[in-house]
């Protein structure tokens, strides 16, 4: 057992490190280091411009979407090289946040399901950051039950599709050029069978993007409304009615990318408790605080080394086991619990936010953001189902909606 690179890995790391040292936007480092959850933290310039500049630089030098094939804008790197790149990129990786969904989820779906011409046309500008993609999946009435979506796509005589409906929780829709859209093309068959996947130009007529104000006051997500939006049949991915299968590619990549390296807030909490005082003594010396800290510590450490076990597998050319599926489940509820505890240590003053708060309001922001972590990209309950069924092999829930035509499934519990 060791934490060392193989000689090849060390060589790759050296090259990556040297290139980053020579090319990274060092003047942005202080801002990036202070970034909160899910933002790059850049305020000294337009953050999207900063992101695009760094992405383009990486792309031109062959460091963007490392593991993608070269013909689509990548570098055909191995999974472990991708991990090493991520470690070396460090805080600058935060600049990639506008591209994460496109490159992490939409790209792989296009790669698996589009024809060669489409891939060569659509993927390189996605890799370079010139074009941003969003994922149009969730709907107000279809969250955990994604296959329950109602947005309709109807094919015209000329083959084009006309789309009507509403999507929600669409991150980055306001700045996206393209969107990956799942729609219902046949409501008369069972729910999983009537879906079809498309991609569309977000500048198409009839697409309206509205920001959603979230519980914490931010607006990182959007609602997207479709009114008679026309999509050419050439922008269909997979066969008509095969949309559910196509979406699984996207979702698998979503959970993978969200689940790995989730922050837990523990290092920040420990640091805080080293400096904070309770009645004149360091908080970290209070036995009750210690007991709580220890419980957070072993969870944070467990996630960290679970990640390292996955990297170890990649380093040996193996496929990581199912261990990583626990990442978001553990980190989500832990962040919430940890934030409540940090506020408790701050006492009555913990209620204050922003500059008035200790630790620059970090834990207050975490308290207000963390409920979303337990819901987005698969709720705690869905993740436990996945672990139970796919990892442990337990039987699925009883499904009452499986062999029923979609338009006959009840839509309200009232009455």
């Amino acid at each position: 057992m060791d934490f060392d690179d193989t000689p090849e890995e060390a060589e790759f790391r050296k090259t990556a490190r040297a290139w980053i040292a020579a090319n990274a936007p060092k003047h942005l480092e202080p801002e990036l280091k202070q970034a909160g959850f899910a933002t790059s933290g850049i305020t000294s310039m337009d953050p999207l411009v900063a992101s695009r500049e760094w992405q383009k630089k990486k792309y031109d030098a062959g460091w963007a979407c490392l593991h993608w094939p070269k013909e689509y804008g990548g570098a055909a790197a191995t999974p472990i090289q991708r991990v090493i790149w991520g470690q070396e990129e460090g805080v600058y990786a935060k600049l990639s946040s506008p591209f994460l969904i496109g490159q992490g989820m939409c790209g792989p779906t296009v790669m698996e399901w589009a024809d060669e011409e489409t891939k060569r046309r659509m993927l390189p500008p996605l890799a370079s950051g010139e074009e941003i993609w969003c994922q149009l999946f969730s709907e107000p009435a279809a969250g955990s039950d994604l296959a329950g979506i109602r947005t309709r796509a109807e094919q015209q005589d000329n083959g084009d599709w006309i789309v009507n409906g509403q999507k929600i929780w669409t991150s980055g829709a306001h700045r996206a050029q393209y969107g990956l859209l799942i729609a219902r093309t046949d409501p008369n068959v069972a729910k999983h069978k009537g879906l079809t996947m498309f991609f569309l130009d977000m500048r198409s007529e009839g697409v309206e993007v509205r920001p959603i104000k979230q519980a914490n006051g931010d607006a990182n997500f959007n609602e997207v409304f479709f009114t008679d939006v026309r999509i050419p049949d050439s922008q269909r991915l997979g066969r008509v009615g095969e949309g559910w299968r196509v979406s699984l590619t996207t979702l698998m990549n979503e959970r993978l990318s969200i689940g790995s390296g989730m922050p837990t807030g523990f290092p920040e909490l420990f640091d805080f408790c080293m400096n904070a005082e309770i009645d004149g003594r360091p908080a970290v010396d209070d036995p009750a605080v210690r007991s709580r800290l220890a419980n957070f510590a072993v969870r944070a450490s467990g996630l960290k080394y679970t990640g390292m076990r996955a990297i170890s597998a990649l380093s040996k050319g193996e496929t990581p086991g199912p261990e990583n599926s626990i990442g978001k489940l553990v980190a989500g509820s832990m962040m919430q619990e940890l934030a409540m505890f940090a506020l408790d240590v701050q006492g009555q003053a913990g209620v204050m936010t922003g500059d008035d708060a200790e630790a620059r309001g970090r834990f207050q922001a975490m308290l207000l953001r963390s409920p979303a972590t337990r819901i987005e990209g698969g709720s705690d309950e869905i993740l436990r189902n996945i672990i139970g069924e796919r990892v442990l092999g337990l039987p699925g829930d009883i499904r009452v909606d499986k062999d029923v035509a979609f338009n006959e499934i009840p839509t309200s519990g009232k009455g």
């Binding site: 969730s138 107000p140 009435a141 969250g143 955990s144 039950d145 329950g148 929600i168 929780w169 729910k191 959603i212 104000k213 979230q214 519980a215 914490n216 006051g217 904070a276 005082e277 309770i278 009645d279 004149g280 009750a288 409540m340 506020l343 408790d344 240590v345 701050q346 006492g347 009555q348 003053a349 913990g350 209620v351 204050m352 936010t353 922003g354 008035d356 200790e358 207050q364 308290l367 207000l368 409920p371 337990r374 819901i375 987005e376 709720s379 705690d380 309950e381 436990r384 189902n385 829930d397 499904r399 009452v400 909606d401 029923v404 499934i409 009840p410 839509t411 309200s412 519990g413 009232k414």
Partner: protein, 372 residues
């Protein structure tokens, strides 16, 4: 045995509930949450008119001369609707301080105004950063002039006067400071629950008068905080119940996978556990209500029990109310976050959960030692 409210008290509850349902919908809460308003003046005036602000204030001082049980009933209703009014600061705290330690003149001057909602008081105690203990009170009073910075002060922004804790050689003493006096500056501070506004109050040689004889300030603070803890516990169980009701209703209506989400054990059992903690908290709050209404010797234990239990229950119910609602629960438009904010804000008011846990066992230990 009668660990329950009387029929009159239950009638009062219905009365207050009807008033708040009409006058304090969530739009009223949001109006304060989303603005610089210190509170909802109309709701507050309505409560004064109903006579409930002065429920526990003697008739000779302009109150209704009922008792603390009536105040418990009112508190629960305020908690249910997240009422954006300074009842806790002005009534549970300021009025109780004056009733407990004030001079006859102070009582005559302030209590009728507090009961009528014509004046608002607050308690300026904690001084950030850190947990509030005698050791971290740095505010002093010299020749009757108060200097120091108090933050956060709940409802400090809308208050006419503050009860201020100051450090003296023996511990704490209490001063009453009018906030329009020179040497007083009140700044709003942002908080996790902007529907219950917080302020920073800076005193620079501000004129003040003593509250009480100055010797037993710390003991007065403990006694008043114990009683306020029970009243806040009722606000918390009101909120917890409402969060549970909202979540239950949603679980009955919302469909996923062709069935009501409440038919999934993951959701059903989450709600059952919320019911369990809300029920435990309610029973403990009743115990606290009995204690503060009878002045029982076990009040410190009962108050800490009510407080710890209610804090846990409201945090638990508010958190899982969002989880049951899923993505919709995390929108600004749904009310889930109002309870989440309130639950986590109230968890810190009067001192954090951990401090009350410690106090509970300390008091049980003392009670046990004196019984032995």
């Amino acid at each position: 045995m009668n660990l329950d409210f009387s029929d009159d008290q239950k009638m009062l509850r219905d009365h207050v509930r009807r008033f708040l349902t009409d006058c304090c919908p969530s739009s009223a809460v949001r109006a304060v949450l989303e603005s610089d308003l210190t509170h909802d003046a109309q709701v507050y005036a309505g409560l004064a008119e109903l006579g409930v602000l002065g429920a526990a204030i003697p008739e000779e001082f302009g109150g209704a001369g009922q008792g603390r049980l009536e105040l418990c009933v009112v508190a629960e209703e305020l908690g249910r609707v997240l009422a954006p009014v300074p009842v806790a600061s002005s009534i549970y705290l300021a009025a109780d301080f004056i009733m407990t330690a004030g001079s006859e003149a102070q009582k005559r001057h302030w209590l009728p105004k507090l009961a009528a909602g014509e004046a608002i008081g607050c308690f300026a105690h904690g001084e950030a950063p850190g947990r509030t203990t005698v050791r971290n009170i740095a505010t002093t009073a010299t020749d009757g002039r108060v200097s120091g910075v108090k933050a956060p002060v709940a409802d400090g922004g809308g208050a006419d006067f503050a009860i201020v804790s100051v450090r003296n050689a023996d511990g704490l003493s209490l001063r009453l400071v009018e906030l329009n006096a020179e040497g007083v500056r009140v700044d709003a501070v942002d908080s996790i629950d902007p529907a219950r506004k917080q302020a920073r109050i800076t005193f620079e040689n501000a004129p003040s008068e003593p509250l009480g004889d100055g010797a037993d300030g710390a003991r007065t603070v403990e006694a008043v905080l114990d009683r306020a803890a029970v009243l806040l516990a009722f606000e918390q169980i009101g909120g917890a119940d409402r969060a549970l009701e909202t979540a239950t209703e949603y679980a009955r209506e919302r469909m996923a996978f062709g069935r009501q989400i409440g038919s999934f054990q993951a959701i059903k059992h989450m709600l059952a556990d919320m019911y369990v903690s809300a029920t435990l908290a309610r029973s403990n709050a009743y115990y606290g209500a009995w204690a503060i209404s009878t002045g029982a010797a076990e009040t410190p234990v009962a108050a800490a029990t009510a407080r710890v239990s209610a804090t846990q229950a409201y945090q638990h119910c508010a958190k899982n109310n969002i989880q049951v609602h899923g993505g919709m629960g995390f929108t600004w438009a749904f009310d889930c976050h109002l309870h989440y904010r309130r639950a986590n804000g109230l968890a810190l008011a009067l001192g954090p959960l951990s401090a009350w846990e410690d106090r509970l066992i300390e008091q049980m230990r003392n009670a046990n030692a004196s019984a032995a």
